[in-house]
Amino acid sequence: MKTETPMPRTTTPAVESLLRFVNQDLLAESVGKVEPDTPLFEGGWIDSLKILTLIAFLEKRVGRKIPDELIVMDRFRTITVIARSFLES
């Protein structure tokens, strides 16, 4: 039987680096791990402490403070969305 080779996921270096931080640091204690397109908040992955750690990581990467008004679902829904909103612009 022919086995199909999975298509390689197209991720950017920013997505990979953010994914590594989230899974290895932020969710170090979690049994499950997230994918680039996993909904982070609907799935309950990120709590009120983790969001601050995540913001601190992003601020360090971009070298400036991220204003509170930019911390909205449209920019934080998934790893891919966060990377696109803050690390790839």
């Binding site: 908040f41 709590d47 009120s48 402490l49 601050l52 509170d68 909205v72 679902m73």
Partner: protein, 274 residues
Amino acid sequence: MITETVTSTTSLPPSELHFDFLVSSDGLPTLGSGACELMRMLDAKFRKAALQAGAEEKHFPTLIPRQTLESTGYFQSFPGYASEVNGPGRAGNYLLSPAVCYHCYQFLADSSVEREMVITCCGKCFRADSISNGHLWEFTMREIVFLGSSTVVLEQRQSWVRKVTCWARALGLDAELSVATDPFFGAQTRGKKLLQQIKELKYELAVPGPAGISMPIASFNLHEELFTEKFKIRLKNGLPLHSGCVAFGLERWYLALTSRHGINRALELVEALK
């Protein structure tokens, strides 16, 4: 002492013009006949829509036991907002209700509900923090509270957002919906506040008020399991029970409508509202 008079261009008799909506320096309103009539009509519309959506009606006391507010975490979330009442022999036991929906959770405490439910209630509410911001200390709030699975509560909220936004626009108000950024329940820390902001737990519908300054006239809130856990309210099938609510500030609807149209046109528009 009356320090502020809010009036609108109306064809009411001159003797009544300046007495339709007066606010004391302590944020206590006195209403004239136009304001009474308009608020009564608005509330009748909201109440009817709630009943049509299957709501059970309740009327709760204006005073709320301290224990109930403590159970909601109110004093941590909104320090300095609540007004204490000192009755004979009951000093410190009661406060003026800052919202009517808290009574619902106390009413349902330690119970199991068969399936989703909707409750509507209206009452006087008091928030002492707002006086310095030019807001009312005492105001009238109609609330629609819904309990059910997270999906049901989210759908209810979205349905009311659509409905109320349509009403406001049909009444000629420039209504804008946005995610609220003011302190909300349980948001004592920056992390909690930002989490609520991202999860869009509170929407506000704002319209231009007197002098064109934007003011919220309704809020649409998701509480997740905050209140159902605190008050031990469960779904009989064992699934997590969520709650949410819609709240209407009736005086603000009056102010928005009369500053836009004047009292007589506002009355006509509300009467014709479908």
